[in-house]
Every structure is written in C-alpha cells, then in structure tokens.
Amino acid sequence: MKCHNRIDLRPSRRAVLSGAATAGAALLAAPFIARAQAAEIPIGVLLPFTGSQGAYGPDMRKAAEITTKLINDAGGILGGRSFKLFFEDDESSPTAGLAATKKLLEIHKCQAVIGIWGSPIAMAIKNVLIQANTCMMVSGAANAITDGDTKGLVWRYQAKATDWGPGMAKAMLSRGWKRVSILAQQNPFVIPMIEPAKKVFEAAGGQVVDSVVYNPDQPSYRAEVQRIFGASNPPEAVMCLGLLTDFVSIVREVVRNGYKSKVMALSIAADAEGKFIQAVGPDVAEGIEHFQPSPPLGSPTYARFQKLMGADENALFLFAGNTHDQVCTLALAMEKTKSTDSPVFTKAIREVCNPPGEVVGDVVEALKKVRAGSKIAFAGAGSDCDFDERGDQLNRHFGHFRIEKGKQVLVQVIKGPEGTL
C-alpha cells in the first residue's frame, strides 16, 4: 500500500515542477490499478456498535456514509480522489478500541480516525494516533482528551464536559428551579459536570439538596430514585445525568410513584435520536426537559442534514451531526493544504472553520470556494465548528428542550463559553 502512495505522490510533485502536461503523462503512465487505489483516501471510523454504548453508533455511521457520498459524488477532493470509509466496532471497550485502531492504521492505512464516541476509548487510543502522526477527531466530552502534547492532531467535535454543567444549571435556574438534586451515572463525561453545576446554583442563591451517583448497568434504580425524588422535602427539580437505558428505568419509576419534582435530563438520554419517546411513550415523556450541546437548530446546514438522514424537521441529531462535520472538515482541510498528511492538513482545520470568512454550510460548495482560494468559515450540522488552538470547540450552542405531546419543543438556546478565536 505504501508504494502506491508514493506512485501517487510523484505525479503531483512533477505537476508542480513541470506543468500540467507532464503530470497528465505521468498519470497515464502509472499502472491503472495503482491509480485507482491511490485515488481513494482511507478514513477510519471507530464507533460503538455493541456493549453499553452500542445504541449511539449506527446513526453516526449513517451520517459518515451520507456525507462521504455527498463529497465523492461531487467529484471528491484533490482533483478527483474520493474518501473510502473503514468502520470498526470499539465494543464500548478501550482495549477493543485500541486493537481496532491499530487495524485501521496498519491494515487500511487510514489517514485519519474519526467518530470515537466514548471518552475512555479516546483516551486509550490517543497516544497511538499521535505517535502515528494521524489526525483524530473525537465526539467524547472528557476534558483530558485534548490535554497534553497532542501535536495538533486531536480535534474535539463536542463541548468539553466542564462546559456542560454550568449551562445546564443556568437553564434550570431560568426555569425558576432553585432547590435541586442531582442524580448522575458514574461515567467519565458526566462526573466532571457536577461540581461546576453546583457552583452555578450556589452563586445564584440556589441550593443543591442532595446528589447521588449510581453505577451503570444496575438491575434497578429504585433506591436512588426513592432517595432523590422521595425525599421528605423533595427538590423542585432533579438534574438527571445518565444515558438512555438507565434514564428510561428512572423515569418509569418516577412516573409510577407520582413524584412531583421536575426532571431535567441530558438530551442523549431524554431524546436519544427519538429512541426515548419510542421506549416510554409520549404520556410518560410529557413535560420532561432536556439539555445538551445542540446542533445549530434552524440553520440551513442542519435542515439539509435532517433531510439527508431521512428525518423530519423535529429530529434532533446530537452526535450524527458531529460525524458529518468531521468528514466535511477533513475534506476541506485536505483540499486547502492539498495534502492527505495529518500533520499538514490539521494545520488548516481552524483556517477553514473559524471566522473571519464567508460562512458556508454546504460542503460541496465549501470545497469549490476553497479551491477558488477564498477564505471560508465552515458551519456544520453538529455545531458552528469553531476551534481553539487545543482543538476544543468554541461557541457551542446548548439547546434546552421540553417534550410536549411526543415532540421536542425548543425552550431556549444557551451560549457556551466564548473563547478568543
């Protein structure tokens, strides 16, 4: 495979040196098969399809495939080269994720590894990718992912975990809830939210009555629900920080017992791309509010993305949009630098994403503009795609929703912390 890459590089160098005609001749001279293979740029997509996080993989896969088709059908990048995706299952386990990453790097020679949902998995494979000088685009929230010397290769398409808590607390305060409790799953992106959230409540004169952390995969959450919701002086609202399956159990228990405290959850649990309402039915879900770093709702990019995914305008894609953005920014940065080499093209990610520049959401159009040499600021379907120099996202919007008659109703949009661009 390596030698094919070299064959591919040679014509492009000559093209620079001696003009298009020589390049054309060189291309013709290259063996047909080698050219066909070299034309494809292998991209690894590491996602959970089994294990406790298995519910989140399939939509992200679909988004990656759709976006890739969009780019490839429009002629690809770098003068006709197309993306080829290789999917691997991380089995929700860091060790399996590591083996899968090695396969993506060594067998498929992937130029970048994207997807990467779970924070522990991102942590386990980070060093491997950095050492292999390969770009890594993650959807995990744990702060530690972008810590340390990343050589500029690690990019997070998600808000940092510590940014979620204050936003959620603000959203709850805006609803007038000052006496609250926290019920959280022991999980690496949830735990860092708790302390910052508490601080915001206390600063606003509110009170966090009680907080309970439970383990994932328990047979029942009755005791936890009882303690938080069934307290003798129950809180006005409860911040439920968990994932889909445990949240379904918790809500059923709350509704069954007729507890009165309001529920504020993460959208990853209370929407989960429609799976929550599908699981409990609209009556049980009625009135539950949820919050999460959200896609740019109402933006044309997001609307088009919903259509591409075959969903209606009510659908809330929390992670699939980020996968779409990962594929798009990869294409744009590669096109901008005329390189598929990670240390080179990652330098251009901020250039094609951050303002100033013409805001473009359609990746095909964006590619045309980049080729024409104009400065763009790509705005994606998962976020506006603005990054700081560590690879963390800036200006994330947080959506605050309420479930009414089985539909998501947007309550408000809360802006995350703004950084200097």
Partner: protein, 319 residues
C-alpha cells in the same frame, strides 16, 4: 501491517500470562477463579499508581504482583471450607467489588475517568516507532520466563502435591500434605502472575479505566485455557493465540460482508465467538494439547516419589 501484528501479539502475550495464571489456579489446583477480571484490574491499577508516583515501572510490576498474590491468597484462605462453585462466586463477587471500588473511589483511581499518562518500561531505549517491538520483546521474555518457572513448578514436588490435592484432597491430606497451605500458596502464585499481566496491560495502554476490566476478560481467559487443553501450558500458547485470532480475525469478516448494518455485524461476530467456543468444547474436548504427565517408566525409576502423586498418575494412566 507489522505494527498491527505487534499489537495483536502483545495482546496475545498478555492473554497468555493471564491464561498461565488460570492454568495454575484452575488447571493444576482445580480452584476456579471467576474474578480474573477483578484481580487483573487490581494489578493494572496498582502498577499504574506506583509507576505514576515515580517509583519506576519495575517497582510497579513487583507491587502489582505482591498485592494480587496477597488478595488471591486471602480469598483462597477465606474459601477454604467451600467447594468449587462457592469459590467461583466468591471470586466473581470479589471481582465486582474491585470494579466498584475503581469506579467509585475517584480520589485514588480517577473514577470512571481513569488514570492517564502511565509511564512505560524501557521508554527511550529505542525510537518511538520501534518501541512497541521492544515492548513485545520484553513481554515475550516475561512469558518465556513465567512459562519455564511454571513448568519447573509443575514438575516439582510442590506441583505434584498440588495436583494430588486437586484429584483428591482427602487422600492428599492423609498422606501428610498440608492441603490448606498448598491451595493458598498455589492460588497466591497464580494471583502474582495475574498482577504481572495487569501491570503490562496498564503499561501498554498507558491508561487504565474501569471499562477495560469487564467480565469478558474472564470469559476469554477461560476460553483460552480450555482451547489449549486444561493443565497444559504449551497448549495454552496455542489456545490464547487461537482465541485472539477468533476475536480479531472476525473483524476482517465484516470487511467482506457488506449487506448487514454495523450493529448486526458486530453481533454476528460475538455470536461466532460463542459458537466457536461451544463447538470447541464439543468436538475438541481435550484442547490442543494434554496436561503434562509423568510416564509410568520414569515413575517406577524414581522410588522416592510420594504416594499421592503415584496414585494420581496411575489413576490417570488407567483412565
């Protein structure tokens, strides 16, 4: 390609070390350890914490081995009066306790965030590109050393006595063997080996978190030991490699099959692993290789052998 193979081989080596430990505890002594994953986690966290404190990676391995030996020994001591199934649940429960502690005591273990940035042994001796090869070489040396030590141990009077206890502890005790101490010692030695495996796992990943130590590790280790032939350390080398090939090889299957969605492919992969295991048990019950046995000729040649062993070997020879 090479680096992928190196990774697989490193994982195979760690699986072999775990398998050697289980082969000693279960294969040789007949004591079931269903808490493999828990002790493995204990070793990994111990090594990680020691190495992160700056005491060095060798100290990490030693501490991991000692801690696991101590806890395994204590578990064996506690479960002395219990039969196999109860020891199984006790070790399973112990594994759960370790999982919950690693998950909940974040001041020590980092909770679900885990411990990143664990130093690696011999780091800086070679270039970063070649480091994994060096790590593999180191692991192979460790595997060989453990293998030789265990083979010597099995053939030693201690090993024979332990097997006598496995076959019939009443006979062994009437022959003057201290059954209690034998079981505790053997289980502790097994624990030390699990600790070493844990340490290398932590060093290889440079990151530990609770989700790495799920019960599936216990299942895979049992599969490796069974595939290799219970009690046979040589067979285990094949067994562990086969299981790893099954687990990793099935990744390539989905590159060929294109009709199903990813979740379905992933589940088919695990179905195949389960089916493979069942078919193995049914059609290849003895595993790849048989347990080491004394031949009767060598037995007769050595008159100083103790009766328990002789009895055990004759019994097996006869069966």
């Amino acid at each position: 390609m090479t680096a992928y193979l190196v990774t697989i081989l490193i994982l195979v080596c760690i699986a072999i070390i775990l398998g050697l430990a289980l082969n000693l505890q279960w294969g040789l002594c007949g004591m079931v350890n269903f808490g493999m994953a828990g002790f493995f986690a204990l070793g990994a966290y111990a090594a990680a914490l020691v190495a992160l404190s700056g005491a060095g990676t060798l100290a990490g391995i030693v501490v991991a081995a000692l801690i696991c030996a101590a806890t395994c020994g204590a578990t064996a001591l506690v479960s002395l009066r219990l039969s196999d199934e109860y020891l199984a649940i006790l070790t399973l429960g112990f594994g759960e306790v370790i999982r919950l502690v690693t998950l909940s005591e974040s001041w020590l273990t980092g909770g679900s965030l885990g411990l990143p940035g664990i130093p690696r042994p011999l780091w800086g001796w070679v270039s970063e590109q070649n480091y994994e090869l060096l790590f593999l070489a180191l692991l192979v040396v460790v595997v060989l050393a453990l293998f030789l030590v265990l083979e010597v141990l099995i053939r030693s009077p201690f090993g024979r006595a332990v097997r006598a206890v496995r076959e019939d502890d009443t006979v062994a005790s009437t022959l003057g063997k201290n059954v209690t101490m034998l079981r505790v010692k053997a289980f502790a030695v097994g624990g030390a080996i699990i600790g070493i495996a844990g340490a290398f796992h932590a060093y290889y990943l440079t990151y530990v978190d609770p989700s790495q130590f799920s019960a599936i590790i216990t299942a895979y280790t049992f599969m490796a030991v069974i595939a290799g032939g219970r009690g046979s350390n040589k067979g285990l080398l094949f067994g562990a490699a086969t299981i790893m090939c099954l687990i990793e090889g099935s990744r390539f299957l989905k590159d060929i099959v294109q009709v199903l969605d990813a979740t379905q492919l992933a589940s088919i992969r695990l179905i195949l692993i389960g089916l493979g295991l069942i078919l193995f048990l049914i059609y290849r019950p003895q595993g790849f290789l048989l347990e080491y046995r004394l031949r009767s000729s060598s037995l007769l040649a050595r008159s100083s052998l103790n009766g328990a062993t002789r009895m055990h070997d004759f019994k097996q020879e006869a069966s």
